[in-house]
């Protein structure tokens, strides 16, 4: 008796049925193994658009395969049109996977150390084919993911889908919202540019105000009194390991809850107090294979096309500011846009109350909202108060976000504001964006913009003049001076100074900008 027996069934088949028939059978069986239950004939039937046989053979992969078992075999056709889901949940999940993949590519070129992180960015952009492309996609994906999560939450509130029995689904969604924001925020620091350092410094100082634990938590996350080598390494590990891991786990919990309760139908589709998502009549079923899968792939591909278009021909690029420098605080640094409302709140008063306690209460309320708001009806007409509160919240958040920007409540001297508009410290601005040859050597004044010898200089001086006039109540008889000299071959020095009268002559601190022929800020 042999201990080891090799049996090749196709050889038997060839003997009994002949070449052609044996080959067809083998291919069919292989395809069926790979798809966990769908053979070639069924694939052809799907492609021809034929209705499935009874019983439906296309549900077999859901029972036998790992990936498909996570997806329901069918959906209610009423949740498969654009309304009520707008595909926001699906697209968010796609973004999480997309960020993981693009992030892995970026990790190849990155070292989490302040000595070299910024140099890594430069070599990624100058020496790695598709380096810019990948970085832009990753950053754009991060911004879009935060937007998608917020919209997804808004949609869930508006359609009342958080109501019993889906309260816990909402709760896990809240956790995922926080995780998404912190994933995006922790990625902010990694390029180690001025934007990174100061956005995170602002964020950390907000968190520092937390009573009792603020200082300790901050020390743990930053690894020191200021953000340095330890802080960068900790943010990096949070960004690439801890937060994604937790996010994937919570996506699992969240989706499990979504499936176990079924996708809630549009509010008008069922009687008040009823939840029929799990009882889908035969004739209203839309099977996953092929209809739902086709739709999901369609949205995925469309979304990818949109993002690729934006970062190439659309001209959207991830910002990269100068090397982080804790000695230089740029005028008008802001938190990331999704934390601007917090920055706006902080301008209202006490750091502890407006920066920690109030936002803490608000986000706490967000989490437990489904357990407090227990009105039985999901219909819009029955939820006027709730929907009004939602609309009001959006308005308040928008106002607070505006208040978080430098346009509100930031007191700096008007002469510095004028000069910062021309040559900002956080982005190139108009002056640096002007072509080298368009800035002729000489002494110029803002009010004489009309007589400037080149179009580029004219535009710069016009903006200069407009900004001075904006503050004409504070800058009396103001004169905006600009002196351009060429200090090296291909290097110009532009010095600007505002002079005005206010009980005597005043002059601003001169601001000097250097411009090299090759520096190419337009791109």
């Amino acid at each position: 008796m042999a201990l080891f027996k090799l049996h090749v069934p196709i050889l038997d088949d060839i003997k009994t049925k002949g070449w052609r028939s044996a080959l067809v059978t083998t291919v069919d069986q292989t395809v069926e193994r790979i798809t966990a239950g769908i053979n070639v004939g069924e694939i052809r039937s799907i492609l021809r658009g034929e209705a499935p046989k009874r019983p439906n053979p296309r549900v077999k992969p859901h029972a036998d395969g790992f990936w498909m078992h996570m997806r329901p075999t069918f959906f209610h056709e009423q949740v498969m049109s654009l309304y009520p889901t707008f595909r926001l949940g699906w697209l968010t999940t796609y973004m999480l996977v997309f960020e993981t993949i693009t992030g892995l590519f970026l990790m190849l070129w990155y070292t989490p150390s302040p000595d070299i992180a910024y140099t890594n960015m430069l070599s990624l952009l100058s020496n790695v084919p598709f380096g810019l492309f990948m970085r832009d996609l990753h950053r754009l994906g991060a911004e879009l993911m935060v937007m998608l999560v917020l919209l997804h939450m808004l949609r869930t509130f508006v359609t009342g889908s958080y109501k019993k029995p889906r309260q816990f689904t909402w709760f896990t969604g809240g956790v995922l919202l926080l995780l998404t924001m912190f994933l995006s925020f922790s990625g902010y620091l990694l390029p180690w540019d001025q934007l990174a350092l100061w956005a995170v410094t602002i964020g950390a100082s907000m968190a520092e105000a937390t009573p009792v634990v603020g200082r300790e938590v901050n020390l743990l996350v930053r690894g020191g009194a200021d953000i340095g080598a330890n802080g960068l390494l900790r943010f990096y590990l949070l960004h690439v390991f801890a937060l994604p891991l937790i996010a994937f786990i919570f996506v699992g919990v969240h989706y499990y809850k979504v499936i176990i309760h079924g996708h809630s139908l549009p509010p008008g589709a069922e009687k008040v107090g009823e939840d029929t998502a799990r009882k889908v009549p035969m004739e209203r079923r839309l099977y996953f294979l092929p209809d739902v899968m086709t739709r999901e792939l369609f949205w995925t591909v469309g979304w990818l096309a949109l993002m690729v278009f934006m970062v190439t021909w659309g001209g959207w690029h991830a910002p990269l500011e100068p090397h982080a420098d804790s000695q230089i605080t740029p005028l008008h640094t802001t938190a990331p846009w999704y934390f601007l409302w917090l920055q706006g709140l902080l301008k209202l008063g006490d750091k502890v109350f407006f920066g920690v306690i109030l936002p803490g209460i608000l986000s706490g309320l967000l989490f437990v909202m489904p357990y407090l708001e227990v009105g039985p009806s999901r219909r819009y007409a029955d939820r006027r108060i709730g929907l009004s509160i939602a609309a009001l919240t959006i308005v308040i958040m928008s106002v607070l976000t505006f208040m978080g920007t430098p346009y509100y409540g930031v007191s700096s001297s008007p002469d510095q504001e004028v000069l910062t508009t021309l040559a900002p410290q956080t982005h190139p601005g108009l002056l640096r964006g002007t072509a080298y040859d368009e800035l002729p050597v000489g002494e110029w004044v803002a009010s004489g913009w009309n007589n400037a010898p080149s179009q580029g200089l004219q535009a710069v001086l016009e903006l200069y003049n407009r900004e001075i006039e904006r503050y004409s109540d504070q800058l009396l008889n103001a004169k905006g001076k600009m002196s351009i000299t060429e200090i090296q071959a291909g290097l110009k020095q532009v010095t600007m100074q505002v002079e005005w009268e206010d009980n005597g002559a005043h002059a601003s601190e001169p601001v000097t900008v250097y411009l090299h022929r090759d520096s190419d800020y337009e791109h």
């Binding site: 430069l122 810019l132 792939l297 591909v301 096309a305 021909w313 100068p322 071959a489 520096s519």
Partner: protein, 284 residues
């Protein structure tokens, strides 16, 4: 479903096409980023120079007598200065090293500057990050082009090369000071003013840089009468002229032929050549 599949396929093809177009443009984009970043580095260096370096080296890099030597000067870029320091690398690295580490003591050749150069890089206990030192180096190296050209302005449109002949054209009177600058512009000093005479590819000009302890002026005055002389010169001036324009006619051991290029007859005007010869004859 058919519409979705069709539209999805269109999206996919469009995405791939955009990515392909991007791929074609990638080398140019990367090169552009590199030069753009170099430009920004020079700008950052200019600001750092104005704040940290200008007080000693002068705002225009021309140096300040008694404080610090010039950086906007030909000898920094043609190799004279760092060879004098015994440096074997590039000018860029020499400048980086000098800024990053500073000078523990003033160099012997620059004894008129008693202050020592401070250490600037954080790597050695200074105040600046290494990338900031790099910015300053980029700014300083940006002087190279004009510093080397400064000595001789661009060749005028009526430029006439002096040619290879020893007598025609007759040379005008030479200007010693201009000749000295020209030896830096043309880079002669790299080989002929090298203190390490055993390593230098060409014979040193001053007596102290030549094995037999005789200067180029004295050598020129006697060589054309030597028994083994293979050239056609009949005077010290003609001997020097021949050595510059027809470099391989007479080569003294242990130096080899074809090291010094035969290009100066085409590159120099009669006045340039006269100035250099006048300068060489004053070297002791």
């Amino acid at each position: 479903m058919v519409t979705r599949v069709a539209l999805g396929t269109v999206f996919m093809v469009a995405t791939l096409m955009i990515v392909s177009f991007t791929a074609i443009d990638e080398p140019a984009r990367m090169a552009q980023f590199e030069s753009g970043y170099h430009g920004r580095s020079v700008e950052a260096g200019a600001a750092l120079y104005a704040n940290n370096c200008a007080t000693c080296h002068g705002p225009d890099g021309k140096g300040i007598a008694g404080r610090a030597p010039a950086l906007n000067a030909a000898d920094l870029y043609n190799g004279t200065r760092f060879r004098e320091m015994g440096w074997g690398g590039t000018t860029h690295d020499y400048v980086y090293g000098a800024i990053a580490g500073g000078r523990p003591r003033a160099s012997a050749a620059y004894a008129e500057y008693p202050q020592r150069m401070p250490t600037w890089s954080r790597d050695f206990g200074g105040p600046l990050r290494p990338d900031q030192v790099n910015n300053i180096v980029d700014f300083v190296m940006n002087w190279e082009e004009t510093a080397l050209l400064e000595v001789v302005a661009e060749k005028p449109s009526d430029f006439v090369a002096v040619g290879l002949d020893l007598k025609d054209p007759v040379l005008p009177a030479g200007d010693v000071a201009r000749g000295e600058k020209l030896t830096q512009t043309y880079g002669c000093v790299a080989c002929h003013m090298n203190p390490d005479m055993n390593a230098a590819p060409g014979p040193g000009w001053p007596a102290k840089y030549y094995s037999s302890g005789v200067s180029i002026a004295e050598r020129a005055a006697t060589r054309f009468t030597a028994a083994d002389y293979t050239g056609k010169a009949t005077s010290a001036e003609e001997y020097l002229r021949e050595s510059i324009v027809q470099t391989n006619v007479y080569v003294v051991a242990p130096y080899a032929a074809n090291i010094m290029p035969v290009i100066y007859g085409e590159q120099m005007a009669a006045q340039d050549l006269a100035d250099v010869i006048a300068y060489l004859q004053t070297i002791k």
